[in-house]
């Protein structure tokens, strides 16, 4: 039972058509290009792991794990893709030259190819004719093995949810841990799960988005977050499996597929059974100044992997409201949700996998601020009835007055309950002061529990009258959104131009600016990516 507004159906249809049209140039761009990270993701799916031991600053540097592995050591996947690029270019993809080397007997396995790259003895050529056929078959088989592991993880998740039980109710209670040290994060995450969290997100270290490689190993030295590494993923998932068994409900794990390594992190998430991933079409562009083209190519691939892995994505519309005004720019959130939806579906994600983001960020000093929040939240709920929706707490207007902050978080929780949100990110009263303390998290969960126990069922009774304040506000935001989509769709470059114009989060990002553009390569007609082929085959 969900609260709904009766939105003008013609307007809703128009909004979706326009979003698809505005996003088309992005899809075309993504299909015609590859990136270094997409190619590295292919190698990861084929099982290539580890780092080149002669790279990195080792223990002398920040970012070094205590067990001696350095987070700045270059992964083999980077070394191989760079070598292929240097020798024959990436416009055919990495699979043809690499599996040609394997099929022609130059190396017994992928790891050996990597070591030859390390030794400087690898020689790559792009095969043609029967050689290409042979390389394609071998590459397909290798990547299929990785996808089989992703499939097995999806099945295992479904089995665990069925056997242990799922989160007891909606919204799922989502909590962040962020100590920088995976061995510190684990007990905190387990404590949070015992205290009622259904979803644990491990927020990443500042700066990881801009690393053009994925660090390796268990790490203890992140800033304001913990590095996303395959080993950290594995350790945390195992710890949450333990606590899930103890609690009799499956506790989900979330991380971030964003930044320059989005496709690889998506693959690692699939390989290590993460359950949800932050994955926004524009966040990296707007808030990390990552090149738009790079983002869109990486994005599509990563979402196809998430689709296959049964992962729920979370989009980042809430972030716009930290730099733009939540009332004036409310329609940009709706526009972005529609764009994220259309791009996600194109990549094969289904409605139940779309944790579209929105947030409680209206200035609390504004009269009727809570009614406006309810209108915006119900608009999203009504526009995307089958998507889980990620409801984000107040941050921008949180201050050092933690008492007022606690009250505001209570109202945020209430709005989430009333409007039937799917995933509730727990707000901290100390948001403006510190990264959360143990007690902050505990108090925040008490707040959530009280509100959901006291008022969770109100979603059944809450039906704002047609023509009332909430209904009218939702309608006017939707109309503004459609008007903006019309302007975006009007431009031949669609969304790409809108981002350059500063439409979202009042931040301008031109298509050729930002970081990572040099990692984007236009594909030739003969290019081959076994992962894309296998992922697309399922959907056809």
């Amino acid at each position: 039972m969900t609260a709904r507004l009766d939105l003008d159906p013609a307007l809703v249809t128009r909004a979706r058509e326009l979003a698809a049209c505005a996003a088309q140039p992005v899809v075309d761009l993504a299909r015609a290009h590859t990136t270094v990270s997409v190619e590295r993701a292919v190698l990861r799916l084929a099982g290539l792991t580890g780092t080149d031991p002669v790279t990195g600053d080792g223990d002398r540097r920040e970012g070094t794990a205590r067990d001696g592995t350095a987070t700045d050591r270059v992964p083999w996947v980077n070394r191989v893709v760079d070598a292929v690029r240097d020798q024959v270019g990436l416009e055919h993809g990495v699979a043809l030259p690499v599996w040609h080397a394997l099929a022609s007997g130059a190396a017994p396995d992928l790891q050996a190819v990597a070591e030859q790259v390390g030794a400087g003895t690898a020689r790559f050529v792009v095969p043609t004719g029967a050689g290409a056929e042979r390389a394609r078959d071998a590459a397909r088989a290798a990547v299929a093995a990785g996808l089989a592991r992703v499939d097995a993880n999806r099945a295992r998740r479904e089995e665990l949810v069925a056997r242990l039980g799922d989160a007891p109710r909606r919204p799922w209670v989502y909590l962040i841990v962020a100590t920088g040290d995976i061995h510190e994060d684990i007990p905190q995450a387990q404590a949070a799960a015992r205290a009622g969290a259904d979803v644990i997100a491990v927020i990443r270290s500042t700066g990881q988005s801009l690393l053009d490689y994925v660090p390796e190993g268990a790490t203890r030295t992140g800033y304001a977050g913990t590095y996303a590494t395959q080993e950290n993923f594995r350790l945390m998932r195992a710890a949450l499996d333990d606590v899930s068994a103890e609690l009799g409900r499956y506790v989900r794990l979330t991380n971030y597929a964003s930044g320059l390594c989005m496709p690889e992190i998506a693959v690692l998430a699939g390989l290590e059974r993460l359950d949800m991933m932050l994955n926004d079409a524009m966040y990296g562009i707007l808030f990390r100044d990552i090149n738009p083209r790079r983002t869109f190519v990486d994005q599509r691939f990563s979402r196809m992997v998430h689709a296959r892995a049964g992962i729920v994505i979370n989009t980042g519309e809430d972030n716009y409201l930290t730099t733009a005004d939540a009332v004036d720019e409310a329609h940009t959130v709706t526009v972005s949700q529609l764009l994220n939806e259309t791009l996600a579906k194109e990549a094969g994600l289904e409605d139940w996998q779309l944790g579209l983001g929105h947030a409680f960020e209206i200035d609390p000093d504004l009269p009727d601020s809570f009614r406006l929040e309810l209108a915006h939240a119900l608009l999203a709920r009504s526009l995307f009835p089958d998507a889980p929706l990620k409801w984000m707490p107040p941050t921008k207007h949180m201050t050092g007055d933690v008492f007022r902050g606690y009250l505001l978080d209570g109202f945020f929780n209430l709005a989430g309950a009333l409007t039937g949100q799917g995933i509730l990110l727990v707000g901290m009263m100390t948001e403006a002061v510190v990264t959360p303390w143990l007690s902050d998290r505990d108090l925040a969960l008490r707040n959530v529990r009280y509100v959901l126990d006291a008022a969770g069922g109100l979603v059944e009774d809450f039906a704002p009258p047609p023509g009332g304040f909430i209904d009218r506000r939702a309608d006017s935001v939707l109309r503004e959104a459609v008007a903006l989509l019309e302007r975006i769709a009007d431009h031949p470059q669609g969304l790409i131009q809108a981002i350059a114009d500063g439409t979202f989060g009042i931040t301008r990002r031109p298509p050729d600016g930002g970081k990572g553009l040099d990692g984007v390569v236009a594909l030739t007609a003969e290019a081959y990516n076994p992962a894309l082929e296998l992922l697309e085959a399922v959907r056809a």
């Binding site: 404590a191 015992r194 100044d289 403006a432 143990l438």
Partner: protein, 262 residues
């Protein structure tokens, strides 16, 4: 405070009752021992007699018991506050209106004052520096870009220190404004020291005025960090503009550097 009362105590509901409230967590399982521990801590903080008005365990539920206890404590604090001994960082320069700022630059510099702004390191929080620089401004005051007599370049976030030094040199910047919001593991202090060292090394005495800001900075730390000025929470663009005039024009720096300290 020349006349009136110099010595005060916290105010609960009557003058001089000294009442305070505080909350904290101890790594002790809940129970009488934990409460005793909380009382001991409160006592050492000068609260006597302290009352633990609330406590609960954290980290329990499900399996093992709680390993931590959260407390809310009330009580009168013995300490007195001597208002005469309070020290505040006084603003050593007058607050100017935007017109006065432009007037002072025109008269004192005979050219536009060049300001560069950025967030350095991996910090991506730009709202603070934007509040100071962008026309839109902050707290009803227009940002520095509003000034006709200033040329402002806002380089945005994730700018490296070498990039910033190069830009400052190329643009002949009079002042470089840097924002630092993330403070975990003292990232803001380390980055600021790195900034100061890089400018010192690259430009010596001819370096531009270095100003840093962010919500968790202590304005008294400028000298220690090697910069000229530190601004904290709630800074307004007008304060910054007034300071720039004071530092760059009022005191003739940097044309005639002050004599070296012995």
């Amino acid at each position: 405070m020349p006349d009136g009362i110099d010595v005060v105590r916290p105010y609960g509901d009557t003058t001089g009752d000294g009442m305070v409230q505080l909350s904290f967590t101890l790594p002790v399982p809940p129970g009488p021992r934990a409460e005793g521990a909380a009382l001991q801590l409160a006592g050492k903080m000068g609260i006597a007699p302290a009352m633990v008005v609330h406590s609960h365990g954290i980290g329990g539920g499900g399996g093992g018991g709680a390993a931590f206890t959260f407390f809310v404590v009330y009580g009168p604090v013995r300490h007195l506050v001597d208002l005469a001994a309070v020290q505040v960082e006084e603003r050593a320069y007058p607050l100017l209106s935007p017109g006065e700022v432009d007037g002072a630059i025109r008269a004192g510099l005979h050219r536009q004052l060049v300001v560069l702004g950025a967030c350095i390191g991996t910090d991506a929080h730009t709202v603070g520096i934007d509040a100071i620089l962008n026309i839109k401004g902050f707290a009803g005051e227009k940002g520095l870009e509003y000034h006709r007599e200033m040329r402002v370049a806002n380089l945005g976030a994730q700018v490296t220190v070498p990039e910033l030094v190069a830009r400052a040199r190329a643009e002949r910047a009079d002042a470089v404004l840097v924002s630092q919001v993330v403070t975990q593991r003292d990232a803001h202090l380390r980055n600021t020291r790195e900034l100061a060292a890089a400018f010192r090394e690259a430009m010596g005495e001819a370096r531009p005025l270095l100003v840093v800001g962010g919500p968790r900075f202590d304005p008294a730390m400028a000298a220690e960090l090697g910069v000229d000025r530190v601004f904290g929470r709630g800074t307004t663009p007008g304060e910054v503009a007034s300071y720039l005039v004071h530092a760059l024009i009022g005191s003739r720096r940097p044309d005639t550097p002050a004599p070296e300290d012995p």
